[in-house]
């Protein structure tokens, strides 16, 4: 029964595909999967937008949207309708073709990433051997669309935003990749399915998630930071830094194209959360062995939503960094840490079983973090201050 529930979508797909003649079956299967992804993730986008607005509101002692539908749950629908019926303004001197293509490219590229994500047991659209590689290739293409948008708008704010976005995303791609390499080293595979399989084992009822190992945890933190920067989320939301650049690269977009950017951003967020969950939090595997009765796809989506909530929480709390600080942080702190982490992962591998490797690896990483942080703060002369008073 639990197995049935777990595999309900897979079985459903097989049943439907079985209805058509053999030669058409692969195509229908692909179409079904695509439709499912295109239906589920924009739905999740709507939910996370609502969650963000409500959650942010609650953090700021407000209620948040509560007028459309009960408790405001229909707010995303209203927003969508509004975006659809708004006039689509294109600046006179903009490059019309590129201006039109930019949001389309973003949405397409972002959805491509889902092809390799295992969303449940046997629920990977394309179980690719080099899934991780494919994912990063697709993720990197998003920069193209952002640059297209910024350049074609012929707006100075857009241009500045696009420049920032490209610099930032390229910089953070490096730590993002390197922190994932740790997982590849531990599993010996680039296949995301394989990575989940490795984590889906239990000792004393506890899972073997990579986040519970020293270098896995370090990689997880680095990955989270880089993922935030990669999706242009607060505190790394400089490309659209509202207070300085109005709306950054999509300043000149309105109506449905604006909505597409919005959608692209959130879907990218969801997908990178999905990747993070797959790599470090065991993908679709349950957090405790006894919880395996709950279907695997539930765990996958639950982990995504928790990740999104953390994003929202950060957005509600932090101010934004500045461009050069962001770059410094990426190249001078996160990157060395990820490199060290690779070293530690190697050490872990060769030290063999036992408690010693836990202590050594944790100590190395912790010391590096504390030292690096302190040196970084010192060199920039940051720190708390004391004040004098005049009577």
């Amino acid at each position: 029964m639990t197995n049935m529930l777990d595999q309900v979508f897979v079985l459903l797909k097989h049943r439907i595909v079985g209805l058509v003649p053999m030669p058409v079956q692969p195509i229908l299967g692909a179409v079904l999967s695509v439709v499912a992804i295109l239906a589920v993730f924009p739905g999740l986008f709507a939910i996370s937008v609502l969650l963000e607005r409500k959650g942010l509101g609650r953090m700021q002692n407000r209620i948040g949207p509560n007028r459309v539908g009960p408790l405001g749950v229909l707010q995303p629908v209203a927003d969508g309708i509004k975006a659809l019926i708004k006039e689509d303004l294109v600046p006179y001197s903009a490059d019309h073709v590129v201006h039109f293509l930019a949001p389309v490219v973003l949405v397409v590229v972002v959805f491509m990433g889902y092809a390799v994500l295992p969303m449940g047991r046997n629920m990977t659209f394309v179980p690719m051997d080099a899934g991780l590689l494919f994912y990063f290739a697709m993720g990197a293409s998003a920069e193209l669309s952002i640059f297209m948008a910024g350049w074609s708008s012929r707006n100075k704010y857009s241009l500045l935003g696009a420049m920032r976005a490209v610099a930032q995303m390229i910089s953070y791609e490096v730590p993002l990749l390197l922190s994932s390499v740790v997982i590849v080293m531990m599993t010996g595979s680039l296949s995301l399915d394989k990575i989940v399989e490795v984590q889906n084992q239990y000792t004393w009822g506890l899972p073997h998630w990579f986040v519970f190992t020293p270098m896995g945890f370090a990689a997880f933190v680095m990955f989270a930071i880089a993922a935030t920067a990669e999706t242009n989320r607060s505190p790394f939301d400089l490309p659209e830094g509202e207070s300085e650049l109005v709306a950054g690269y999509f300043t000149e977009y309105s109506g449905f194209k604006f909505a597409e950017f919005f959608l692209g951003e959130y879907v990218a967020m969801l997908s990178i959360s999905g990747l993070g969950a797959t790599l470090f939090l065991g993908g679709w595997s349950a957090p405790l062995e006894i919880l395996n009765v709950v279907p695997s796809w539930f765990w996958f989506f639950a982990k995504i939503m928790v990740w999104i909530c953390f994003y929202i929480w950060m957005r509600g709390t932090f101010p934004r960094l500045r461009q050069d600080q962001l770059m410094n942080f990426a190249w001078k702190f996160v990157l060395p840490m990820t490199l060290l982490n690779l070293l530690v992962a190697g050490l872990w591998r060769f030290m063999g079983e036992g408690w010693l490797r836990w202590v050594v690896c944790s100590a190395i990483l912790l010391a590096a973090y504390v030292l690096g942080g302190r040196i970084g703060m010192r060199s920039k002369k940051f720190g708390p201050r004391s004040y004098r008073y005049a009577e």
Binding site: L56, M59, Q60, N61, R62, Y92, S93, R154, K156, Y157, L159, L160, R164, S234, P235, D237, L238, G241, E242, S243, E244, V246, R315, G316, T317, F318, P319, R320, L321, R322, Q323, D324, Q325, M377, K380, K381, F382, G383, P384, R385, Y387, R388, Y389, A390, E391
Partner: protein, 385 residues
């Protein structure tokens, strides 16, 4: 479409400057999310580095000085509310002080206490919201701002129950105040004062040790003390540069010599110091409030001989100034014996504090421009008047 407009649109976005290469010229404002209203900065950028910055004023210019010269002395009082609409009560006080100086009007003791209480409450709510706006400009999605407004609301509720209006108080009169602060009002003020330290602690927890805030504000927008003095900078911004000059301590206007409070001073003159000086000033204001609310005597709240109608000062002039939350707010009045001033001049702190905006921004990043600008703490109603 006209040819010139077309040309303007097709012009390349960069400008050529000798020796500097291609530069980007951006007009930040008047329609910009972080210019606190309608203010414009013409910024010339090399990449993201600021090469030149020229502030452009006047989008909210209503010529208050001309209004002041056409309407009578009392009639100007409600207009002063509309200068710095965040701190109408300190504006009222500065104007009342100038007129009282012009005619030699004494103020009863209770009225002085009421003025101090209201001015310090105004200072707290202004500083809190300024920090909120500052962090908003750093990109904190409004959380500190909302917390600041939560507390500000309590203070404004007190203002409304006392003066009848939340922001446009029009409360002070020459020789006192318009209505008395009853025991209920005083108790409400006491309740606010006891609740505020917790709020400031919360605020500091959220911000003071935040590494991102430190990175964004420490060493940014430095203002050297010599320049600050020479450029006539006043208020928290001056004290953040380490110059000990608080008009409450220097002029002892009102009854400020009766209270024990300290003046926090910064050391580096950067944005972080401006932030911290404001936080510490809020704490000092709380001290003043505690003392004032304890000591407030009974008595008349306005000089019974004070004239409301037919106010005609003798010819002469006076310059009255107070330490408003944003700096030195002064009113300069010349009377020719008529019912309205011959010359009415406002010395707006936020306007003059902008003198050094360019000096603080040059060489910084474009992202820092808005933060530096936010740390100056201006209200366009007062800048443009």
């Amino acid at each position: 479409m006209s040819e010139s407009l077309l040309e303007a649109w097709n012009r390349p976005p960069t400008i050529e400057v000798d020796g500097e290469g291609e530069l980007l010229e951006v007009a930040m404002g008047p329609h910009h999310p972080s210019t606190h209203g309608v203010f414009r900065m013409d910024v010339v950028l090399d990449g993201e580095r600021v090469i030149k910055l020229k502030p452009v004023f006047g989008y909210l210019h209503r010529n208050h000085e001309q209004i002041g010269q056409t309407v009578g002395y009392l009639q100007m009082m409600p207009y002063t509310d509309r200068l710095d609409y965040f701190c109408s009560l300190t504006n009222n006080w500065a104007y009342a002080l100038a007129v009282e100086k012009l005619v030699g009007q004494a103020v009863p003791e209770r009225a002085e206490y009421i003025r101090v209480i209201l001015a310090e409450l105004t200072r707290i709510q202004n500083h809190a919201s300024t920090i909120g706006f500052l962090t908003q400009e750093m990109g904190a999605s409004g959380t500190p701002l909302m917390y600041a407004f939560r507390e500000r609301e309590k203070i404004l509720d007190l203002f409304e129950s006392l003066t009848g209006s939340r922001m446009m108080c029009n409360y002070m009169r020459f020789g006192g105040c318009r209505v008395d602060m009853t025991e209920a009002h005083l108790n409400a003020a006491r309740k606010i004062v006891t609740g505020l330290p917790r709020f400031i602690d919360e605020f500091e927890n959220l911000l003071t040790s935040n590494e991102i805030l430190m990175a964004r504000s420490q060493g940014m927008g430095v203002l050297k003390p010599d320049l600050a003095v020479n450029a006539g900078i006043t208020g928290p911004m001056l004290r953040a540069s380490g110059v000990n000059y608080d008009i409450r301590k220097v002029d002892h206007y009102g009854i400020y010599d009766r209270f024990s409070f300290r003046v926090p001073l910064g050391e580096h003159g950067d944005i972080y110091d401006r932030y911290m000086v404001r936080v510490l000033e809020m704490r000092e204001s709380l001290k003043i409030l505690e003392q004032a609310l304890k000591d407030i005597p009974a008595g008349p709240f306005i000089d019974p001989k004070a004239k409301i109608r037919g106010f005609k000062p003798k010819p002469g002039e006076a310059y009255g100034r107070i330490e408003a939350p944003k700096g030195e707010l002064g009113f300069y009045l010349i009377s020719d014996g008529g019912t309205s001033p011959y010359r009415f001049r406002i010395r707006p702190p936020s306007f003059i504090n902008l003198t050094v905006l360019e000096d603080m921004c040059i060489g910084q990043n474009v992202a820092d421009v808005v933060v530096v600008f936010g740390s100056v703490d201006i209200v366009l109603g007062e800048v443009d008047r």
